[in-house]
Amino acid sequence: MKNRIEAIRKTRGIRQEEFAKALGVSRQTISSLENGRYNPSILLAYRIARYFEMSIEEVFVFEEEDTQ
């Protein structure tokens, strides 16, 4: 699943370490999420969206091929 985490984070001037700490995950997890190598659980997706004060749909881009 594609996401806009990196773009949103950089726009707001948040470092990966800071972001990871706020979410209680490792920096590697943030890196994997941003590269699209790892899809978060619904709970983490929710926490990310809430951190950015956005909706999940604004952060994560669902495409039909993600289900395949």
Binding site: A20, K21, G24, S26, Q28, T29, Y38, S41
Partner: protein
């Protein structure tokens, strides 16, 4: 309470390890048991050192807690176990055939039993998990 339990378990490992090691040195038990004693002592000591560092060093504690709770790490741990299981079945199945061909019938049977056992564990776990989730 959970931390105290960890200390007690570490101490049990160390005591058991030193006992086995001493019995090995006194030649009461063979090198298999004294070797196991050495391993248990080292494991117990490492756990104890880790625990005290965990309690004193806040930065280390935070890093360990993050690594433990991190969902990607949990996902990777599960995936690694799954891969290990697949590889074990594959390796045992190949070993079973090769051992049979070269005439090691008992070892071949052992490898076959290992495959059967792990498949049995897999189905048992699957049935339990199916009811749970």
């Amino acid at each position: 309470m959970r931390q105290e339990k960890k200390i007690i378990i570490s101490i049990i490992w160390i005591v058991l390890g030193i006992t086995l090691l001493s019995l090995g040195i006194a030649e009461v038990v063979d090198s298999y048991w004294s070797g196991m004693g050495s391993a248990l002592t080292v494991i117990g000591l490492l756990q104890l050192i880790r625990f005290f560092r965990f309690r004193k060093d806040a930065e280390y504690r935070e890093a360990v807690e993050t690594e433990t709770k991190d969902e990607r790490n949990a996902f990777l741990r599960n995936k690694a176990w799954a891969w290990a299981g697949y590889l074990f079945v594959l390796f045992s199945a190949v070993a079973s055939i090769v051992l049979k061909i070269v005439g090691h019938d008992i070892l071949s049977m052992g490898a076959s039993w290992a495959v059967c056992l792990i498949i049995l564990f897999y189905w048992g776990s699957y049935m339990i998990l199916r009811k749970k989730y």
